[in-house]
Point group: C2
Chain length 347, copies 2
DNA sequence: CGCTCACTCTAAAGCGCATTAGTGATCGGC
DNA sequence: GCCGATCACTAATGCGCTTTAGAGTGAGCG
């Protein structure tokens, strides 16, 4: 850490104390709203601190037991599969909004897989780096909640159904089942009976929830030829799977894609095979973004407010950090925005 | 920070010292590779530390002058304009790769604008939160380098041309001018003479560099009807500008878009106006991503390795943190990948 | 055999803050 | 007009680590 020139020195509480003519303790009381100083002194100290541009050293604060004023966020997805993902940036943007208000930092890290992610949590915990974490992409049989519970690290799971085995963790989630039901409603209403669901990563909890719901809904309606295929969310697999299922016989008349990227890639792949959307095959994207309005026809899609989702998650985490109890918060069910990619099934 | 149950306690150096039967100082020497302990003791201490799962508290480290082991990254763009951006995630992914190796954290924050971003730097500096920062989206007349210089905060500017007014900062950049020249070469080679450049945010340094270069190249070749229009990078503006310029008379025969999102939106807008790509108008995207292969025809695009870009930037920053001198590093010029969206100009 | 030097290790101080205990001064109550 | 209580403030301690000064030990040497 060589610092060649002598840069401006950071003012410390001692500087404020000297300048205000009081002890350091008085400064601490004054600036943290604690009793022990008169209001006039408090005001003076605050003024001096402001003049000097004083800000508490997070290191010192953390060391004296106040926590690191930072929350962690790990993304365990291969970078390439995040190519043109819109969800995470929106999510993080919402998270930021809430954290910034409270001057909480966001420590971000990418990981190889869940095991690696767990290692990151352990390290953060041992290094005293974060006060809590936001967990995304919950999985079936997920080791993370247990670990975080064990470490006593406050956490909010984003996008998972509530799990009563870990009462310490909060959950923020949308009801995928209801959303899937609404999509199936729409498609069967249009006369579709052969539906294929091009799902996302097989290990994710919400992927499995969607698959289960689809099967249940299909069963309830007596639809036989309905199934799901899992992918890695990439445009490449989206296109490949689309080609495969459309070549089957009889081919499906409707496709549900678990994200926008695959949906768009799928439409292109379908076109190559001579399938027109929506005349030959209807398409629904489980994620609405600019992408869905960049192809012809515009894609019918499940819309949700990812930024609000992030805000909610961050608020839950701050509540936990403030000593609140863990809870499960449900955000609005994504609503199907019908555009040009869905039409009545061919007779 | 209420912690209901008593979670596992973080082991400290004192624990290691006791367990290894030495003093805390000895532990410090042993674990930091400093002289002052015998090799046998060092090995024993290391073993004990490992057994206990000891990790240094970053707070304590930072407090005793070692720096925060964290670098900062601020993104000052409205979230909506980042809708389906692929560049930043790739960049961050590359940055992470390098930082993770050295156990450096990445503190991420979004800001409203550059002024807000400066405030974030000031706060980070005063709070002792970061050892250095990575600056993106350099602007013409940018206040950030000056501020960072003043604060003595090591920084790497990503994507800006070297600026000798701030010798303390490193720069990692690609030669936009050369890339632009290659695009103009390609297009004029195909017979295009009326070219419009749908540029990005007007304030950005590289936007201005590209605009200047285009004008210069056009002048050198005697092309009259060549100009640039700035946008906010969004698909909406990309489409709007495309409509506007194609309605002009005579309309351009080639369009250069400063990112993939606008290029794709532009192609769609052109199609609506009855312009076929590439027969009626050629299109080049200044950013290659899955998006460019999700439309028909596939888009000719300038490809670069954004992940490698991030890696290089992060490496420069770590070099700076290690006391290295600031330098300007040039990454490879983006290469034009010719696909289906460019064709000879109509006669 | 005493002396120095090199080596291994310990003691203690300090980083910036929060906090607890403690010290005067002021005040109300009798 | 004295006493205990209250208030405004200070001194001192600790958080976990790094670092400087210093102590103890044994080897090498004259």
């Amino acid at each position: 850490m060589a610092e060649k020139r002598t840069p401006a020195r950071r003012p410390t509480m001692k500087d404020v104390a000297r300048r205000a003519g009081v002890s350091e303790s008085a400064v601490s009381f004054a600036l943290n709203g604690r009793p022990g100083v008169s209001e006039t002194t408090r005001a003076r100290v605050q003024r001096v601190a402001e003049q000097l541009g004083w800000r508490p050293s997070t290191a010192a604060r953390a060391l004296s037991g106040e926590g690191a004023a930072t929350v962690g966020f790990v993304l365990a997805r291969p970078a390439h599969s995040l190519g043109v993902d819109s969800f995470f940036l929106q999510l993080v943007s919402g998270i930021q909004e809430v954290l910034a208000e409270r001057h909480l930092g966001l420590l971000f890290q990418m990981a190889e897989d869940v095991a690696d992610e767990c290692a990151v949590y352990r390290r953060w915990w041992a290094e005293h780096r974060v006060d809590g974490v936001l967990v995304v992409d919950p999985r079936a049989d997920d080791p993370r909640p247990g670990l975080l519970d064990e470490l006593g690290l406050p956490a909010v799971v984003i996008g998972g159904a509530p799990d009563d085995r870990h009462p310490g963790l909060s959950t923020v989630w949308a009801d995928d089942a209801a959303a899937m039901a609404s999509v199936v409603d729409e498609l069967t209403g249009l006369g579709h009976r052969r539906i294929v669901h091009i799902a996302g990563l097989p290990g994710l909890a919400h992927t499995q929830r969607r698959i289960r719901t689809l099967r249940a809904e299909a069963g309830r309606r007596g639809l036989g030829e309905v199934h799901s295929v899992t992918t890695d969310y990439s445009d490449a697999e989206g296109a490949a799977v689309t080609r495969r299922v459309l070549r089957a016989s009889p081919s499906p008349t409707a496709l549900i894609y678990d994200n926008d990227v695959m949906a768009v890639a799928g439409v292109a792949a379908a076109a190559e095979l001579g399938y027109a959307v929506p005349d030959d095959v209807s398409v629904v994207s489980w994620e609405d973004s600019a992408l869905c309005r960049m192809v012809k026809p515009w894609l019918s899609a499940l819309s949700r407010d990812s930024t609000a989702f992030g805000r909610t998650a961050a608020r839950e985490l701050t509540a936990l950090l403030d000593g609140g109890a863990a809870r499960a918060v449900r955000v609005p069910v994504p609503r199907l925005t019908v555009r040009g990619s869905t039409a009545p099934a061919r007779a």
